[in-house]
Symmetry: C2
Subunit: 240 residues, 2 copies
DNA sequence: CGCGATTTGTGCACGGCTTCACAAGCGCCT
DNA sequence: AGGCGCTTGTGAAGCCGTGCACAAATCGCG
């Protein structure tokens, strides 16, 4: 086995997954739920790979890290695989998430139903603006950011979403970490500095558009040239 | 030069950037704008790398693909570098973007000021729900999705954002592509199938949380073990 | 004018990820 | 029971990306 991930926690029942695999498991999970709803009880790697938009060999290698999961000649048991992936991702219980910043975007995230269906529960909303504190959104009352430490402990929150303006994000992040949060999803367009042991993931809408813009630019340069145009029709050219 | 990108459009004035570099340029750009506001007119690779949260060697290699940009012994000219990156990303003119799906999330995106500051202009809003058509958001009127072809041509839109429910996303995407859109940013939790030549990028909030959940799970397994705890304090352990 | 301090640009090696291609295993049918 | 077709699991090869470490280049100062 050449590509073994040597993370700090390679326990016996901890498969030590490559990071790239971890990033794809949620996609497989979503595809599997979809297949389950359609009544399938087994899937081939080919089928699941198509539903998740990846190469089938890659899918098989990813799943092989979870231990023996498939049956040769048959495929994968859908519900069993769902259970295994949810187990590995730590989705066996519904995790409590705090959302900080109830502005334009935060408001939308608070009302987004997609979280509830996929293993998470928004347990608390926070904002620094006293004008927003007390407002009720989707059954939750917005609390002041000073209540953070108490609520984080009370609801055993370990994951937080930052949806504040960029200039406030680092400050909020520091408070979150101090309160015990160890994973942060950052929507603010800035770099967050955190101590070791805290994970940060970032989502920046403008960055995504700018990457698309680059490819647009590239494409328009193509058509401007004498251009060897190949009107060949393929499938799903997904960038990242 | 070992890592040369051999894309389909490696023209003379088209540097053929590695995809990983392209994905980081917007981050550099944001950091540079921030530095410019603070009055800096030059930056060292070390300084810019810190501001963008990356390794300085990586930054230098990324920028070296743009041609000679820095001055040895001095650093990079901030405004010049901004111009160069904007040039490469095709941000010299403000690109028109269409937003389809004015629900919870779409509403927030339509009101998000971050687009305007960073090279984009939301030129049109669409929805399939007649109850929402005609509504005015941020100075734009929501139009019915049947108007797509006309508006895309009229406003010369090449980039679209899909913020519809998952079950409608593929249908909407097909219409967008048929109308001439060649880049799609998809917020719906599903895989989109598009013809060759069309780029798709995806943002899935639940997936990001599930990846964080995995690491949380991993961390809690760590503390449960006899645990070689290293309370060493580091900086910015960013995943992805 | 020359020297030293500083910072860029990059050759190189290493590791991770992807993909192909095939052997191993499983079920079904005869 | 045996063979056949199908599908998984994986060895191996190649590609891409990262980061070190250093040579090349530039500026400022004496």
């Amino acid at each position: 086995m050449s590509q073994q991930r040597t993370g700090p926690t390679d326990g016996p029942d901890f498969p030590a997954l490559p990071e790239a695999t971890v990033a794809r498991l949620p996609e497989y999970l979503r595809a599997l739920h979809h297949l389950a709803e359609e009544g399938h009880d087994t899937v081939s790697s080919e089928g699941l790979a198509a539903a998740a938009g990846v190469n089938s060999a890659k899918l098989r290698k990813d799943l092989s890290h979870l231990g023996r999961t498939g049956t040769r000649g048959v495929g994968y048991d859908v519900t069993l695989l769902i259970d295994q992936i949810e187990q590995v991702l730590g989705l066996t219980h519904r995790r409590a998430v705090a959302l900080v910043g109830v502005g334009n975007l935060g408001h939308a995230l608070a009302g987004y139903a997609g979280f509830g269906n996929r293993g998470f529960r928004i347990a608390a909303l926070f904002d620094a603006d006293l004008g927003r504190v007390g407002e009720q959104i989707n059954g939750l009352i917005v609390r002041h950011i000073d209540d953070l430490p108490a609520v984080v402990v009370e609801e055993s929150i370990s994951i937080a979403v930052i949806a504040t303006p960029a200039h406030a994000a680092q400050h909020v992040c520091d408070h979150l970490v101090a309160a015990g949060v160890t994973s942060v999803l950052n929507f603010a367009p800035c770099v967050l500095s955190v101590p070791e042991g805290v994970d940060v993931r970032k989502v920046d809408l403008a960055i995504e558009l700018q990457i698309l813009s680059f490819h647009e630019h590239r494409k328009s340069a193509l058509t401007a040239l004498p251009a060897v145009q190949k009107p060949k029709r393929g499938e799903a050219e997904v960038a990242s």
